[in-house]
C-alpha cells in the first residue's frame, strides 16, 4: 500500500470509518492471527484474541501517530494483547511460578505450562512439529514472543525492536536466550522420546 493511501485510510479510520479500517488491516490479518495462535497455543482462543486485537486497534487508533508503519503498530498491539492474556491466565491459575527467567549460564527455569486448554494440534500432523509446538508453549512468555516474531513470523531485528518497543541490543540478546532455552526444552523432550522408543 502506498504511503499516501495508508495515511488517507488511517485518517478515515480515526474518525470511525469501519470500511477504511478494514482495508488497512487486510494485509496483516493472517500474521496477527498466526502470532496469536503461536502465543496462545489454541486455535479458538487465537480467533478471539485476534479479533480483540483489531477491535482494540480500532478503538485506540487515534493514538497511532504515523511514526511507524501501520502494520508495525498493529503487531505491537498484538504482542501486547497476547502477553496480557497470558498474564491474566496465569493469575487465575493457582500455581506458583518461578520468577524472572534469566539465563545466566544456559540454565532455564522451566515455567509450568500455562492454564490454557490443550492446544489444537490439527495444523501439525508431523510429529516433530508437534514437539516443537509444545516446546514453544513451554517457553516463558517473553521468550516465546521472540521465537514467534523472529523464527516463526520472520520479522527483522529492527522490526521486532519497534514492535516490542525495546532497544535492538535487548532484542538481540533476548532472541539468543530464547533460542537457547528452546533448545534445552527440545533436548529434554528428545531424551524422553529416545527413552520411550528404546523401551
Amino acid at each position: 500500500m502506498s504511503d499516501t493511501k495508508e495515511r488517507d485510510l488511517v485518517k478515515r479510520a480515526k474518525s470511525g470509518d469501519v470500511e477504511a479500517f478494514e482495508q488497512l488491516i487486510l494485509g496483516c490479518e493472517k500474521k496477527v492471527f498466526n502470532i496469536a495462535y503461536r502465543m496462545i497455543g489454541n486455535y479458538d482462543d487465537a480467533n478471539e484474541l485476534a479479533q480483540e486485537v483489531f477491535l482494540k486497534a480500532f478503538r485506540t487508533i487515534k493514538n497511532f501517530k504515523g511514526d511507524s508503519l501501520f502494520s508495525t503498530w498493529i503487531y505491537r498491539v498484538t504482542a501486547n494483547v497476547c502477553l496480557d492474556e497470558l498474564r491474566r491466565r496465569k493469575k487465575k491459575a493457582v500455581i506458583s511460578l518461578d520468577e524472572d527467567i534469566e539465563l545466566k549460564d544456559g540454565e532455564v527455569k522451566r515455567q509450568i505450562p500455562d492454564d490454557a486448554p490443550t492446544p489444537d494440534l490439527e495444523a501439525e500432523s508431523n510429529e516433530i512439529k508437534n514437539i516443537v509446538n509444545e516446546s514453544i508453549r513451554q517457553l516463558p512468555d517473553d521468550y516465546r514472543n521472540m521465537i514467534v516474531l523472529r523464527d516463526i513470523q520472520g520479522f527483522s531485528y529492527d522490526e521486532i525492536s519497534k514492535i516490542v518497543n525495546c532497544p535492538e541490543g535487548t532484542v538481540k540478546s533476548r532472541i539468543n536466550r530464547a533460542r537457547q532455552a528452546l533448545k534445552k526444552i527440545l533436548q529434554g523432550k528428545k531424551e524422553l522420546f529416545d527413552e520411550e522408543y528404546v523401551k
Binding site: G16, V18, F21, E22, E29, K30, F33, N34, Y37, R38, Y43, N47, A50, Q51, F54, L55, F58, R59, G106, A123, E124, I128, K129, V132, N133, I136, I147, R150, D151, I152, G154, Y157, K172, S173, I175, N176, R179, Q180, L182, K183, L186, Q187
Partner: protein, 381 residues
C-alpha cells in the same frame, strides 16, 4: 581469539547474518577449532530451522464477518457516546430554557434583605448561574429586576414596561420568554422568587414561615451513563439537619463521599470534578456535601420520607416532569409538521433529535441502576 562465553552470545546473530564482517570472521574461526561451540551452533541452527518449518495457519472462515460485526457495533457505541456528550450540552440549554424552579426563603431576621439603594442578590440555581438584582424604589417596591448572566448581558426588566402586578405583593415580570413571579411580603423581610416556565404549570410554592426548609432542585446530570441529582437544603439548625438527613438517606442508599468544609472554594472545585454538584450559586455555597448512591425506587422513598419529615418546608422541582411535558409538546408540534408535510425542514429534524435526546434521558433515568444524589446543606443559622 574469542572466548567461548563471548561466542555463545553471538551465535544467534551469526546465524541471522547480523554481524559485521570482522566479528563474523572471528566467530567462524573460533567455531572451527572449538567443538563445543560448533555443536552449539549446529543445534541452534537446527532449532531455528524447526521453527521456520512451522506452517502458517489459515484464518478461520468467519473471521472477517465476525470482526466486521464487532467493528460496526463498536462504531455505533462510539457514536452513542458522542451523542450523549452532545446531549449533555443540549440538556444544559434545555434546562436553562425550562428553568429550574427555585424557591428561596430567608429566615426571619433577614440576612440579605436591605432597604434602600442596596440591591438584593439571590441566585437562581440551575446549570446556568444567573444573578438577579432587585432594585427598590423609595416606597420599597420593586422598581426593576436586573439580571446578569455569565456573558455579562444585562437584561433589565423595567417596571413600567413589562411588570404587571395585581397587587404589590405579586409581581410578574416577563421578558424574552422567561416569566418570573416575585412574591414579596413587606411585613417581614421575606421574599421569594420563582421562575416559571412559560409553557408549563407552576408546581406548588412553599410557604415562607421561616425555619428550616428544603429546596430540592433536581438538577439532572447524565454523566458517564449515571443519572445524578443534586439537592439543596437551607438549614437554620445545621448540625441537627446534617445528622437527620444523613440518617434518612442511609436507610435508602449507600454513602459515597462526604465533604464538610467551610472553604467554599474547595467545595465548588470538588463539585466541578464530581460533575454533579453544580446547583450552588455565589451566595449559597454548601457547608456540607454528602453523596449517596441509590436506585430509583429507593430514591422515591427517600424523597417521600424527607417530605414527611419537613412537611410544608420543602420544595421540589422535578425535571423528569418537565422533560415529559416537553416531550408531549414536541410530539404535538411534530404531528403538526407531519400534517402539513413540512418534515424536510431543519426545525423538524432538530425536533426529532431533541425528542430522541429526551427519550434517551428518560430511559437512562428509568434504567439507571444507580442514581447519585448529591445533598448539599447550607448553614443558615
Amino acid at each position: 581469539m574469542k572466548k567461548c562465553e563471548e561466542v555463545l552470545e553471538l551465535l544467534s546473530l551469526y546465524i541471522d547474518d547480523e554481524l559485521d564482517d570482522v566479528t563474523a570472521k572471528a566467530v567462524e574461526e573460533h567455531v572451527k577449532l572449538c567443538s563445543s561451540c560448533k555443536k552449539e551452533l549446529e543445534l541452534l541452527r537446527e532449532v531455528v530451522k524447526m521453527c521456520n518449518g512451522l506452517d502458517e495457519v489459515e484464518l478461520p472462515e468467519n473471521f472477517n464477518e465476525s470482526l466486521h460485526q464487532k467493528l460496526i457495533s463498536e462504531q455505533k457505541e462510539m457514536e452513542e457516546n458522542r451523542k450523549i456528550r452532545l446531549m449533555e450540552y443540549r440538556k444544559m440549554k434545555l434546562t436553562a430554557s425550562i428553568a429550574a424552579i427555585f424557591i428561596l426563603v430567608f429566615a426571619a431576621g433577614g440576612l440579605f434583605y436591605r432597604f434602600g439603594n442596596l440591591s438584593q442578590m439571590f441566585g437562581i440555581s440551575g446549570r446556568k448561574e444567573a444573578m438577579y438584582y432587585k432594585e427598590v424604589d423609595e416606597q420599597n417596591r420593586v422598581a426593576a429586576l436586573k439580571r446578569e448572566d455569565e456573558n455579562k448581558l444585562t437584561a433589565s426588566y423595567d417596571k413600567s414596561e413589562n411588570i404587571e402586578s395585581d397587587n404589590t405583593d405579586d409581581i410578574s415580570v416577563s421578558a424574552t420568554g422567561d416569566t418570573f413571579a416575585l412574591n414579596t411580603d413587606p411585613d417581614n423581610n421575606n421574599f421569594s422568587i420563582s421562575s416559571v416556565p412559560t409553557e408549563t404549570d407552576v408546581p406548588g410554592i412553599a410557604t415562607n414561615d421561616g425555619g428550616t426548609f428544603i429546596a430540592f432542585n433536581e438538577d439532572v446530570n447524565v454523566y458517564g451513563g449515571n443519572y445524578s441529582i443534586s439537592i439543596t437544603a437551607y438549614s437554620d439548625n445545621f448540625n441537627s439537619d446534617v445528622s437527620t438527613i444523613n440518617d434518612i438517606a442511609e436507610k435508602y442508599g449507600t454513602k459515597i463521599e462526604e465533604v464538610a468544609n467551610n472553604d467554599s472554594k474547595a467545595i465548588t472545585a470538588k463539585g466541578g470534578s464530581v460533575g454533579a454538584i453544580m446547583g450552588f450559586t455565589a451566595t449559597n455555597r454548601a457547608d456540607y456535601i454528602v453523596s449517596y448512591s441509590m436506585d430509583k425506587s429507593s430514591y422515591d422513598d427517600f424523597i417521600k420520607e424527607i417530605r414527611d419529615k419537613y412537611k410544608g418546608k420543602y420544595y421540589i422541582s422535578n425535571n423528569e416532569e418537565a422533560l415529559n411535558n416537553r416531550l408531549t409538546e414536541i410530539n404535538q408540534i411534530m404531528s403538526e409538521f407531519e400534517k402539513r408535510k413540512t418534515t424536510d425542514t431543519d426545525e423538524y429534524k432538530s425536533l426529532v433529535q431533541e425528542r430522541e435526546n429526551i427519550l434517551n434521558q428518560l430511559n437512562i433515568l428509568e434504567t439507571s441502576d444507580e442514581i447519585i444524589i448529591d445533598i448539599g446543606i447550607v448553614n443558615n443559622e
